[in-house]
């Protein structure tokens, strides 16, 4: 018992007290900043981007495609591309994820999440999700598990991942959705009682990421069912997840 107490004392309190004010240290790559005045129109960034997330006229990055590898920042000869450590990138709108790179974090956040009244009224104080990894590489899965650990502790907001879709208020998808996993994903969705939400976590779920265009994928599910929240990242950072969810719930 004394051994246990010693370990408890050594650990102290580990939970982040106010998760909305937490910061991720640099050089974490979050919301990109694009300096159009520095851009030399060489197009190197567009050519080297492994996922085609960058368009040039006008200069823009799609956070739903970006894998935050940082290669464009490193290879831009003019230093026009940089990633800030702002991580609250979740949005209820797919189009909103295409950023011109001129917004500050606070400006981006202002209109990123539309906390709809029917969502906040129904799920505001408790949201139970069934997670479906549909060919997720285990990066986002580790980070979703971490979102519930003693540091990030999303359970304190009434947000939990539950074992059965029957107990869930929605589906939380990771991965680019393989052809082999598509039927099981559809089953899980159909087994979740209405009303329900669909949340996409990570670049692969949102756009296919580096696997976009592979014939081994089947992304029909996303054509047939509306998506309520997009959480960018490769993988998603637990702080992006937890902050995105609590804003979505109007908390």
């Amino acid at each position: 018992m004394f051994e246990t107490l010693k370990i408890r004392k050594n650990q102290g309190a580990q939970a982040i007290p106010d998760i909305t004010k937490a910061e991720i240290r640099k050089p974490f790559r979050g919301l990109p900043y694009l300096d159009g005045s520095r851009c030399g129109r060489c197009e190197i960034c567009r050519e080297i981007c492994p996922v085609g997330a960058i368009s040039l006229k006008p200069l823009a990055i799609d956070l739903g495609k970006c894998i935050f590898c940082g290669d464009c920042q490193r290879l831009c000869p003019k230093g026009a591309v940089s990633f800030t450590n702002f991580f609250k990138m979740a949005s209820t709108s797919r189009d909103y994820l295409v950023v011109d790179g001129r917004k500050t974090g606070e400006e981006y956040l202002e209109n990123a999440v539309n906390a709809r009244r029917e969502i906040t009224r129904m799920f505001g104080s408790s949201l139970k999700l069934r997670q479906v990894s549909a060919a997720g590489c285990n990066g986002c899965e580790w980070e979703l598990n971490a979102s519930g650990n003693p540091n990030f502790d999303m359970g304190r907001f009434g947000i939990d991942i539950v074992a059965s879709p029957r107990h869930a208020d929605g589906i939380l998808i990771t991965g680019p959705i393989s052809e082999n996993m598509a039927p099981a994903l559809e089953d899980a969705y159909m087994s979740t009682p209405d009303p329900k939400v669909v949340i996409l976590a990570g670049t692969c779920a949102i756009s296919g990421g580096v696997f976009e265009g592979s014939p081994a994928l089947n992304r029909e599910f996303l054509k047939n069912h509306p998506v309520d929240l997009y959480i960018p990242g490769c993988p998603v950072h637990p702080l992006t997840v937890v902050n995105g969810l609590i804003r979505f719930l109007g908390r």
Binding site: E3, I7, R8, N10, Q11, Q14, I24, R25, F28, R29, I48, P50, V51, I67, F68, C69, G70, D71, R74, F83, R130, Q131, V132, S133, A134, A135, G136, C137, N138, G139, C140, E141, W142, E143, L144, N145, A146, N149, P150, N151, I161, S164, P176, S178, E179, N180, M181, A184, A188, C204, G209, V210, F211, S214, P215, A216, L217, C234, P235, H237
Partner: protein, 496 residues
């Protein structure tokens, strides 16, 4: 000698690889494996109307790799190697699924991943031919593809007598994304990014294997400093996952203190990796020709401080956990794999080492900085959940010691990142890395125009999944989660 002799990261020219009839290749394989070699890669590649089958064997004592090939008419059959050399079982299943070349007499010739480009599209997951069992008190339990926790999908079919598992059949393939085909198609644009996503928990391991293959084909020797930084990241990855897994094992035996403490200790390790790379998983660090991020003197100091704390916390928690009777009662003698079976199945990595299989690529086929700073192989003998957990505990400390040694002797040479040129044409490169799960093997074949024409990936999970199925035999079904966590295998590493 019917083999060409090479080493890790030393490419050979395709025309120098001995080519023989399939029956002769089979005979050579059986003979060489009986002499102590072991298979690390075995696959087919279309050549005109025929298929070139390549075999890569490893002689771990001598740090040598042996290559040979056979040109086989499509639709041909040959007598299976598996009855003679059981470790071939999963490789032959894969060869059959991918090419349609049938190893006759293979004891369980079933699909491996139901890949998009499989030879027989009629073979589907819905029609998977599970073993069945009949008799009194016999029942089956089907789990997955979606599991209760946040983990990757796979299907487990338990055949039970009462509470005891008689046999477990593991059916995978749900995670198939077509990585190998994308590697060939998008090699220039996103090869390294794909490598980082083969298994998202082994970013550095697979990225190092990929970079090793490409650099050996382009003839680039990266700087000592870049080699050290890669190895530091690889050991950070190993320590982080092992710590996380000890927490998960603690959780599965309802030792919640262990789960919480190892959980937050892992956070400290990966947040420290973020300080160097900008990613908690080290994404963006390893690039063809070196590494993209460097240590500053302040960062070295911070790493040393943080890792000292990690070592202290892991030690305190580990000593308490591995002495607690209620924990040991669940770990001891659970899910045991005896050394002979482990060798027969070809287990690798910590799961193999826990059963006395003394394989470690860092020592047997050293790459990068490990050529100058050898790692001492550690093994255990009991092969149970305790051994696989304790093996992790040993390796966490070993990794931290290794990192501290590297930080202390970081070379000052440059450049950190060189431009990699074109890969040599018509060549075959084998690149091996010891990821935290064990031996990762990447084989890259180039064509006449310096392009990649075939990319073959072997994650350690490919061999070790069968080890898990074997481990749970005659164990209570309620101990399955514990056995599973002690292996913690990759679904997408298998499904690709």
């Amino acid at each position: 000698m019917k083999w060409i002799n090479t080493k890790n990261n030393r490419p050979v020219r395709i025309k120098d690889i001995p080519e023989m009839a399939m029956e002769d290749l089979r005979a050579q394989i059986i003979k060489t494996c009986r002499d102590g070699a072991r298979v690390i890669s075995f696959f087919g590649m279309p050549r005109g109307p025929r298929t070139a089958v390549y075999a890569v064997l490893a002689d771990d004592e001598a740090s040598r790799l042996y290559l040979a090939s056979a040109l086989v008419e499509n639709g041909r059959r040959y007598p299976s190697i598996t009855p003679e050399v059981p470790q071939f079982h999963i490789f032959e299943r894969e060869l059959y699924e991918d090419t349609g070349i049938m190893p006759e007499g293979h004891p369980w010739l079933k699909g491996v991943r139901f890949g998009h480009e499989r030879a027989n599209r009629e073979s589907t997951m819905e029609r998977y031919p599970f073993f069945t069992m009949q008799g009194e008190e016999v029942h089956e339990v089907a789990v997955g593809p979606i599991h209760a926790g946040v983990i990757e999908p796979g299907h487990f079919r338990f055949m039970c007598q009462g509470e005891d598992v008689h046999h477990l059949e593991i059916q995978l393939g749900y995670q198939h994304r077509g990585v190998e085909a994308l590697m060939v198609k998008n090699f220039r644009r996103s090869g390294i990014h794909l490598a980082e996503s083969i298994a998202g928990d082994t970013v550095i391991g697979h990225a190092c294997a990929y970079a090793g293959a490409i650099e050996s084909l382009t003839g680039v020797e990266i700087s000592r400093r870049a080699q050290s930084i890669r190895a530091i990241a690889l050991e950070m990855e190993r320590a982080a996952i092992h710590i996380g897994d000890l927490g998960a094992i603690a959780n599965d035996v309802a030792y919640l203190l262990g789960n919480a403490v190892f959980g937050v200790t892992r956070t400290l390790v990966i947040n420290t990796l973020l300080a160097l790379t900008g990613s908690r998983f080290g994404r963006g660090l390893v690039r063809e020709g070196g590494v993209a991020f460097d240590f500053t003197p302040e960062l070295i100091k911070e790493f040393i401080e943080k890792l000292a704390k990690v070592y202290h916390d892991v030690n305190l928690m580990g000593e308490a956990m591995f002495e607690m009777a209620s924990v040991l009662a669940r770990l001891d003698h659970t899910g045991a794999v005896d050394p002979a079976a482990a060798r027969d199945m070809g287990l690798v990595g910590p799961a193999g080492r826990a059963s006395g299989v003394d394989l470690d690529v860092r020592a047997d086929h050293p790459f990068g900085i490990y050529r100058f700073y050898p790692v001492h192989k550690r093994t255990m003998g009991s092969g149970d959940v305790f051994a696989r957990a304790y093996m992790r505990y040993i390796e966490i400390k070993q990794s931290i010691d290794f990192i501290l040694e590297q930080l202390d002797s970081l070379a000052d040479d440059r450049p950190l990142l060189q431009k990699a040129g074109k890969p040599a044409p018509d060549s075959f490169a084998v690149s091996m890395t010891e990821g935290w799960r064990g031996e990762i093997v990447h084989c890259a074949i180039t064509g006449r125009k310096n392009e990649i024409v075939k990319y073959k990936i072997k994650d350690p999970s490919f061999q070790n999944w069968y080890g898990l199925a074997y481990a749970v035999r005659n164990n209570g079904i309620s101990d399955f989660p514990l056995c599973n966590k002690s292996f913690n295998l990759s679904y997408c590493g298998n499904d690709l």
